[in-house]
């Protein structure tokens, strides 16, 4: 039961991290507000199932859609203005806070007290299935012409524009996708913990999500998944007291950045072929073997 709980948490975080990886890792923009999208997903799903009695499998896509739509509210003005990336990051920071305050003051969300007694829908098989579906969609998205446009922007946005790529459209699309994933993550979280409160979705949570992507490797999908698992499991395994949890994360992040500045996977993907190639290259002492995203 305990192990199951941890696995569920790992996969929920991985779902949100994968979404954010599509945005941050592939368009190069940092967000410090993605917990807000988790919150939107969590509340949408909770209100839909609890208040309106809508079935979970319908409420979950609704949560994704709602988070995606809310992302347009912040995305359209900030991304259209082609704000420099640091301005965008600050805008997301403010947005995250604003969302939390909003949730604390709306009647339908039950304010700061939050919503309790949510049904346990996030059981292991369900979460696993959704995790697989999200990864499948993410992989399809990234390894397509849509992913290619995002990568081109990350590599050189002027050259990308001169290749006919509309920066605004591609960034907004990636943001929408990442917010929808975060929404799913939040919804699953709500029906796992079975209780939600606005202060569960703070900037600390957002920062952690971005740290997961950076630690996993910007421009990789498997990297952030691995990082999400590590970030849940290591503090659990060490059984660090709650107050030291953030310190443990910090130390972990510093260690990863020192040992592997490009993140766990860098631009690469974890694959069986990659492992075989790695060991073959060890034998022949060749340096470069992996394919680049």
């Amino acid at each position: 039961m305990y192990i199951q709980g941890i696995l569920i948490l790992c996969m929920i975080n991985a779902i949100s991290a994968v979404g954010l990886a599509v945005f941050t890792g592939f368009t190069g923009l940092m967000s410090l507000g993605h917990a807000a999208f988790m919150a939107v997903g969590a509340y949408t799903c909770a209100i839909a199932t609890k208040t309106f009695g809508i079935p979970f499998f319908i409420a979950l896509p609704m949560a994704a859609l709602m988070a995606g739509l809310v992302s347009l509210v912040i995305g359209i003005p900030t991304l259209r203005a082609k704000l420099r990336s640091d301005y965008f990051t600050i805008a997301t920071l403010g947005f995250g806070e604003a969302m939390r305050v909003l949730l604390e003051n709306l009647p339908i969300t039950n304010g700061a007290r939050g919503m309790a007694g949510l049904a346990r829908f996030s059981v292991l098989p369900t979460v696993f299935l959704i995790f697989v579906i999200v990864v499948f969609f993410t992989k399809n998205f990234i390894f397509s012409r849509y992913g290619r446009m995002a990568i081109a922007i990350r590599e050189d946005h002027i050259a990308a524009e001169m290749a006919g790529i509309n920066l605004f459209q591609v960034r907004l699309r990636s943001l929408f996708f990442s917010a929808a994933c975060a929404g799913i993550g939040g919804a699953l979280m709500a029906h796992h913990i079975r209780f939600i409160q606005p202060n569960m979705f703070t900037n600390v949570q957002s920062t952690l999500l971005t740290a997961t992507v950076v630690a996993g490797g910007m421009g990789s999908i498997t990297g952030p998944i691995i990082a999400a698992f590590i970030f849940v499991m290591v503090p659990e395994v060490l059984r660090v007291a709650e107050m030291w949890r953030l310190v443990a994360y910090g130390a972990l992040l510093v260690a990863i950045m020192v040992l592997r500045p490009q993140g766990i996977m860098g631009y690469r993907e974890f694959s069986i072929n990659g492992i075989i190639r790695y060991f073959r290259n060890l034998g022949t002492k060749q340096d470069k073997g992996g394919t680049v995203s």
Binding site: F141, I151, A152, E161, A163, K288
Partner: protein, 264 residues
């Protein structure tokens, strides 16, 4: 011969610096036009104004009779203008082939967003996989066209400098332009290499029926392939004419050729 591009009274200042001042000239369809001038004359700025990277302070850019002044780059590319960059701007971490594939997407959208998500299953051939394969073959064709097919799977930033310039040309061609702007395509090349490049540009221009507008400091290349030349100095027009006329123009000799040729 019809007019491809008309530049009318084009001016651009950056704060107090006047980079380009009142330039007016035409480029005819199917010709190779060269723009030359000393370092800092404003040549790259002209390219940036045509392609929407900068907004002009004054003046107009008219392409095939349509006013495109101030349009964003991605729209201008769609109308049929592609370019290369003086300070190479490749997608560095991608392979040569992927650089070209990225450009091909513009005029060859093989599948839509819905099929991206729902119609791409492992081990099952489908629209997306077929489309991707076709694009790769097409991209290979462009690499062959500029003679760098051997480097298809090499990371762009790991390619020799001269070949990176050719890759930029291949990527620009993959956008299927009618007007191609080349910003110092022979920079960093020795005389033989730049001669070879000039033949390549001629070949491609004829094969793909292009209009070419190029910036170059290698005078042998310029005189060899340009049908028409436009000379600027300190952002202003200095002379215009065919290569023979320009070579004989005293003002040009004084301002430009007289100073000695700049190789870089």
């Amino acid at each position: 011969m019809s007019i491809s591009l008309e530049i009318k009274n084009l001016s651009k200042s950056f704060g107090g610096i006047v980079a380009v001042e009142d330039l007016t000239f035409n480029i005819k369809s199917g010709e190779i036009m060269g723009i030359i001038g000393p370092n800092g004359a404003g040549k790259t700025t002209v390219f940036n104004l045509i392609t929407g990277v900068y907004q002009p302070t004054r003046g107009q850019v008219i392409y095939k009779g349509q006013d495109i002044t101030g349009r964003p780059p991605d729209e201008i590319v769609k109308l049929g203008i592609a370019r290369t960059f003086q300070n190479i701007r490749l997608f560095k971490n991608l392979s040569a082939l992927e650089n070209v594939v990225t450009a091909l997407d513009l005029k060859n959208p093989m599948y839509n967003l819905a099929s991206t998500f729902f119609l791409n299953w492992p081990f099952i051939p489908g629209k997306v996989k077929r489309g991707e394969k076709e694009l790769r073959q097409k991209a290979m064709h462009y690499l062959e066209l500029v003679g760098i097919a051997d480097y298809a799977y090499k990371q762009a930033s790991a390619m020799p400098y001269g070949l990176q310039r050719k890759l930029e040309i291949a990527r620009a061609l993959a956008l299927e332009p009618e007007l191609l702007l080349l910003d110092e395509p022979a920079a960093g090349m020795n005389p033989e290499e730049s001669m070879e490049l000039s033949h390549l540009i001629r070949d491609i221009q004829q094969k793909l029926n292009l209009t070419v507008f190029l910036i170059e400091h290698h005078m042998d290349l310029v005189m060899e392939i340009c049908d028409h030349l436009y000379v600027i100095n300190f952002g202003r027009e200095l002379a215009e004419g065919n290569p023979e006329e320009i070579q004989a123009n005293p003002a040009v000799l004084k301002a430009y050729l007289g100073e000695g040729r700049k190789g870089a």
